[in-house]
Symmetry: C2
Subunit: 201 residues, 2 copies
DNA sequence: CGTTCGGCATGACATCTGTCATCCGCGCCG
DNA sequence: CGGCGCGGATGACAGATGTCATGCCGAACG
């Protein structure tokens, strides 16, 4: 029997996935949490074989949590679940020692298959996702560029961003300009959208 | 036995919800589709008692589909499933004759309960959602403002928006200005974010 | 009927944004 | 060591953005 911990912020989805896994004879859901920052405690408490983490969560996102678990030397394997085909996430997940990567629009059987494979010490990559990650290539954005794109995406004014990062406004605009050039987008709104889509911010 | 049609673009989630509903003795999932524009055909084909529609779907969003079903005089009741607490969606759903409205982060039991209630001719509203809808009030944006916010959100340049809508650029900026004022946001990015959050675009 | 109001539309103006040339500092390699 | 490339940082400038005053039209109302 493989024990599983589920982390996803949407209660209904979490329950539905639990129901799905419950249909498998060799899988047992031993814990559920709604926030990234609750995962560590739950892993310590219920000691699951595999942790299934959604990426978009309040508290801490799934990838950050995976990095924490690796650094803490946790016993359990990690399987990440992602909404869209954000290729950039895959690299970070790999770096965090995640061995399972499943897209939410993958066929139903894939999740259980991924959990088994990961628990056996293997890797599981959604084929579509892996392909789009190859196609997209590396994240070309620097730390500063990502930071500023994130703030712009939150609707922050340029002046506030400059103050927050102790930069001149011109510098902030300049980072945005290089980011827009790298992404091939004509303005900040499009750049934020594109970077989000790629999983680069 | 209540027959159910599921519409959600994420395969895994759709399968998981189907598994969840499969646990209920009186519910049977008789069809699944991944796109809004496939719903009408599936309803005609499998003649379900209740259609469970996600709002965010390619092809046509859940609310548009609900309006279509109502206009076509479809027999089946509709239960809408929504990701975030986008209060603005609720009003549109009500107007479209939707009688069930469930948030994806609602407790697991709520979906089955909503389906039964809706099938019996009653209404089902997620309490949290209803409360936030009351708090948020009406959508203050005009048709034009919504149209332009949507285009800006897609990263379209002002000049292209003007061309698309046969307006002068100044007019486009003006609609954005009034939208920003109504939303209390300082720039277009923030305005788009706020409007999305409220379910107003 | 006249008035009033809200949505639509425009141009002019001040401000903000995006681009460019430039400089600094650091790590790397011949 | 000297030179090169890259990320970080800046200010100046042209062009895009946000605001404002204004006008038009149709619906609502006395």
């Amino acid at each position: 029997m493989i024990t599983v911990l589920l982390a996803d912020d949407e209660h209904l989805i979490r329950g539905a996935v639990a129901a799905l896994l419950g249909l498998e004879d060799d899988l047992e859901v031993v814990g559920e949490v709604a926030r990234g920052d609750e995962v560590a405690a739950a892993v310590a408490g219920s000691d699951p074989d595999v942790a299934v983490l959604d990426i978009d969560m309040p508290g801490a996102d799934g990838l950050t949590v995976a990095e924490e678990l690796r650094d803490a030397g946790a016993r359990c394997s990690v399987c990440v679940l992602t909404s869209f085909g954000r290729p950039g996430y895959l690299r970070r997940a790999m770096a965090a020692g995640v061995r399972g990567f499943v897209a939410k629009d993958a066929p139903t059987e894939e999740l259980a298959a991924a959990i088994r494979k990961v628990h056996a010490g293997g890797r599981y990559l959604d084929a579509e996702l892996a392909a789009s990650a190859m196609a997209a290539g590396d994240n070309p954005l620097t730390q500063r560029e990502r930071e500023i794109l994130r703030l712009v995406g939150a609707g922050t004014e340029t002046s506030r961003i400059a103050a927050l990062l102790r930069l001149s406004e011109g510098t902030v605009r300049n980072y945005l300009s290089t980011a827009m050039a790298k992404l091939g987008e004509p303005n900040r709104v499009a750049a934020v959208r594109a970077a989000r889509e790629m999983g680069w911010i």
